[in-house]
Symmetry: C2
Subunit: 597 residues, 2 copies
């Protein structure tokens, strides 16, 4: 059985020493996030994740969800009670405004808590996670009446939320969407159509399920400009908040899938279900995008979360499993063999994973802080620049953290040898669970296109330039510092590669868009490496500052410096390969006729 210990100290180090949460006291809600409140919240979330959710993870995978003949879906044993604890603990609404029952604390705290929940039990964590996404969309776009009607119960955890986009013939290309909405005299709509791959679409954890549904109003324009967003409750909500009769929406079946068995992936049938418009007619994608950005950041966190828990278990195994002797000479002569952690190739796996995890956590936290600023700052310029950062980094975080997170679960599994392939050790579940994060919320190829095709050039490249400027100013500032050189010098090289790649697109992709498409995936990963490298510099800086007064944490700070060097020596230089591939353009990639495949 896998174990998990939430990295609370690491999260606190990032919040306090790297990102200096205390400097943002002017933002609403941040004053309430004093260091001891933050620590208390994280320690509580850690305890719950470790003690309650971790033991349910493998059992939930084995048992899975079951759809009964009446269309109801049973979640695995123990999920219901655990969900009740999530609701009672107030975990869903940590960062929701107080007027809807939340605590108004910074979003970065929610996102850190979600990492813990997700490491412990990804399939479970999706239920509250999707609810948070739906809440975000309602908060921004719904009318005051709809907010009043739905938000408090969702924040309380009595009701959950979903998002319904995909249809059988329509995934990425939402313009093909067919689900229909017909306006009723009372202002509501009748929704009819079939949605697939709806996570948490039906279950037994909550009294009601609030579906956010994309549909096309009768007579709306074709394509993406004729799509509207609706709220469709499973049970009608009567005056005073009481539940009424079932609405015309039901779960037709649940999918057999590779992983996240504890989460019901539903085919949802809308059969004249009653729904209410969120935001404006035909502006549904716009409203949905709010939810999608939050969701994509959350999916990036899933990649990190599984990488983290897989790492922890691989590290434990590597220190316990005795096999062979160190090639540099016997290390544990009193044992029949050395623990495999002495072998360089085992360390290569472990170092690769931890060098990703710590920087990825920083990148998520940095971006979550920007989300807080974008939503809460009173300074418009500050809001805009934070929003630019969010838009630019969201596809990078989603794509890179889930690709690397998945690869890391595979590496961690490899440390177990044959035992990693056996279900009872739980390592193969991490691999199967992590895999979905590369696919849903926009497959990673779409993230890459979003980055290169939309985000780079937006507003004359403002967001991109701001990112480049920040990183290069940092490099310049720290270059004089001998102790920081081993970190900022390689980052300078990597940033140069990223800038060259960006320039190459400007010069070669306008006339031939395939040149952008062909390089987009490499560009996303090149960008990710630079962003992670920058995070390692910031971490190293904080660790160096802390060391003289570190006392007990000195070994941890020194380990960070070694890991930062490992990243700079062995992971960051991959930027050169990405650049080289980008610069080959679309040529041989696009040359074959379709029928040659």
């Amino acid at each position: 059985m896998p174990t998990y210990k939430a990295p609370v100290d690491d999260a606190l180090f990032l919040m306090n020493d790297v990102f200096h949460l205390d400097r943002y006291g002017n933002l609403p809600g941040f004053a309430d996030a004093s260091p001891d409140i933050v620590e208390a919240v994280l320690r509580e979330a850690a305890k719950f994740s470790e003690a309650v959710l971790t033991p349910l993870n493998r059992a939930g995978d084995v048992e899975g969800c079951t759809r009964r003949d009446d269309g109801n879906v049973a979640t695995p044993t123990g999920f219901k009670d655990a969900y009740r604890q999530v609701a009672e603990g107030g975990w869903i609404g940590i960062s929701v405004p107080a007027e809807f029952g939340g605590q108004g604390l910074p979003a970065m705290l929610t996102i850190q808590v979600n990492e813990f929940l997700c490491s412990a039990n990804m399939a479970f964590a999706m239920y509250p996670g999707l609810t948070q996404g739906a809440i975000a969309a309602l908060v921004v776009h719904a009318s005051p009446e709809l907010k009043q009607k739905y938000l408090p119960k969702m924040v309380e955890g009595v009701w959950t939320g979903t998002m319904n986009l995909t249809e059988p013939h329509c995934g990425t290309d939402l313009g093909l969407l067919r689900t229909k909405a017909v306006k009723q005299p009372d202002g509501s709509y009748k929704i009819t159509g079939t949605k697939i791959f709806i996570s948490a679409g039906e279950h037994d954890l909550a009294e009601n399920i609030i579906h956010l549904v994309l549909a096309r109003i009768e007579g709306a324009p074709a394509g993406t400009k004729g799509i509207s967003l609706f709220v469709v409750p499973k049970f009608m909500v009567l005056e005073g908040g009481k539940l009424g009769p079932r609405n015309g929406v039901s779960c037709g079946s649940i999918e057999e899938k590779m992983g996240i068995h504890g989460n019901a992936t539903c085919v949802m049938n809308y059969d004249g279900a009653t729904g209410w418009l969120i935001g404006e007619e035909n502006r549904g994608l716009n409203a949905m995008f709010v939810m999608m950005n939050e969701a994509r950041l959350g999916v990036g966190v899933q990649g990190l979360a599984l990488s983290e828990v897989a790492y922890q278990n691989a590290a434990i195994y590597a220190k316990e499993r005795l096999q062979g002797r160190a090639i540099s000479g016997v290390k544990y002569p009193d044992k029949p063999a050395d623990p495999i952690v002495v072998h360089p190739d085992v360390r290569r796996n472990l170092m690769n994973i931890r060098a990703f995890n710590e920087a990825a956590r920083a990148l998520v936290m940095w971006t979550a802080l920007k989300a807080d600023i974008a939503h809460r700052s009173e300074d418009e310029k500050e809001r805009q620049s934070a929003d630019d950062h969010m838009g630019l980094l969201t596809p990078v975080i989603k794509g890179v953290l889930t690709d690397t997170g998945f690869a890391n679960t595979v590496m961690a599994q490899q440390v177990f040898g044959g035992h990693g392939y056996i279900a009872e050790h739980g390592m193969e579940q991490f691999v199967r669970d992590a895999r979905i994060a590369q696919i849903y919320e926009g497959a990673n190829g779409i993230q890459a296109l979003d980055l290169v095709g939309r985000k780079l050039g937006r507003d004359g490249g403002r967001a991109m330039m701001a990112f480049f400027n920040e990183v290069s100013a940092y490099i310049k500032e720290k270059s004089a510092d001998e102790k920081m050189k081993p970190y900022v010098a390689p980052l300078g090289v990597a940033l140069g590669h990223l800038q060259q790649a960006s320039m190459w697109f400007m010069q070669n992709a306008l006339g031939r868009p395939d040149n952008a498409g062909a390089g987009s995936y490499d560009y996303m990963h090149l960008f990710g490496l630079v962003a992670l490298g920058y995070m390692w510099c910031r971490i190293a800086e904080a660790a160096l500052a802390k060391l003289p007064k570190a006392n007990g944490s000195a070994p941890r700070m020194n380990a960070k410096l070694t890991t930062a060097r490992f990243f700079m020596e062995r992971m960051l230089p991959e930027t050169a390969s990405h650049l080289a591939r980008i610069q080959t353009g679309a040529g041989s990639m696009m040359e074959l006729p379709d029928e040659a495949f």
Copy 2:
């Protein structure tokens, strides 16, 4: 349901146009392998794989194997009948000497047939595959009596074989092995101990199962020098070949695992089972290595096989699934959307996979040809040089083909978007099945160590130098040819990287072995890229030669040239990253104290 079409034409192109099978008529058995015999064998194997094995693949995954209370194991529905057809078709003994009932045809033919079987149904193909491995060990090391007793029935397919190495506390480090063998007055041994992860250890496909078992004879030296190899039949074999009573070996349980559910992975309990020594006492590892080399090549083929079938299904899906429009302009205006094969990032996945598959198939075939020469040539020097090649390339093929094969199943799954995560499409099964190949028969980290620690320096680096000389002579020869330049010029760069890396080890690893361990994995992949790049040059050369008279095959030959260029532009340059990582040495990788993990 996934489909499969065996790449017979490609295999024939490699055999006839690239490796010129007709030039080896002097080797025993090769004269019988006339072009039409070879084609007939391959077409028959293709038909069987496509029509019989493919439909059983997903059903076998869902149903899995079941151990009954009496210790017997039932394989999935249909496996028994399919196995009977394998036996009756003579597929197991294609390359076994005629004196044991085989057909004596080249091993390269068996290996190509095995690719087809494995693409169609990996879990099934392991049953005959493991039998072939056991046959190989018996042919080389067993006494004439044991050969006579066991080989004909195994070749006939009436009995199957297994290999029993791993114990709960002992995987890679066979020196820790505890299973005991006690000599009996009649010359047999009583074997006692527990073996785990025994593929095909128990099943209902054959009348008898012949286990090859590593054990330690009472009083033998500790460590790997006290290990002997035994043959232990499930049922005793009486005079005249009739089956006698059950031997003291039984299946204690079967493992729940990530994939290959159709193959029973058994815990085997040896409880005073009767066995007979194969080869000399305490020289068991030596005997086992024969089997291991064959097995490792076979596992490399599994990586290729799953990459191939995953590619085929992804290509079909990419041409059928309509979603979005080409960024370079609408390609199929009569359809509601373009098929996703028009999108560069989808092509990136497809091109990456096919650029690997075709070269990997060539590399396997080249090495299988060397195996034939090593076993059959009458020229000692030729045998030695072929054996050198085998020893050097086996870990590269095992490690690189399974790593890349797995990564390719993931890429192919990605082409399906959300549908790839759903079991019914079968793509996620390819991922789960392919994963084991990176682990068993020596985890890939062990392959890398075998390559760098044993194979490179052996006999003064003779094998390595021969490989370098062949490739560099080829580059030199072809450099003058304008048409070959786009292929050999990049290969020259890559070979330079490989030579620099080898040099770096010589200069830096003797004094500090961790420097070799830290770079071994990158070195294995660097070596693999150079070998695959060399194969692409050979393929391109043959395609260019064929083009003027190609007629109907011209589009196929042109596609090979484009794919070769893709490999050179986008995959081969990764050698630079591998070299850079190797040259950073063990530093930051080995710096952390064990307890920091």
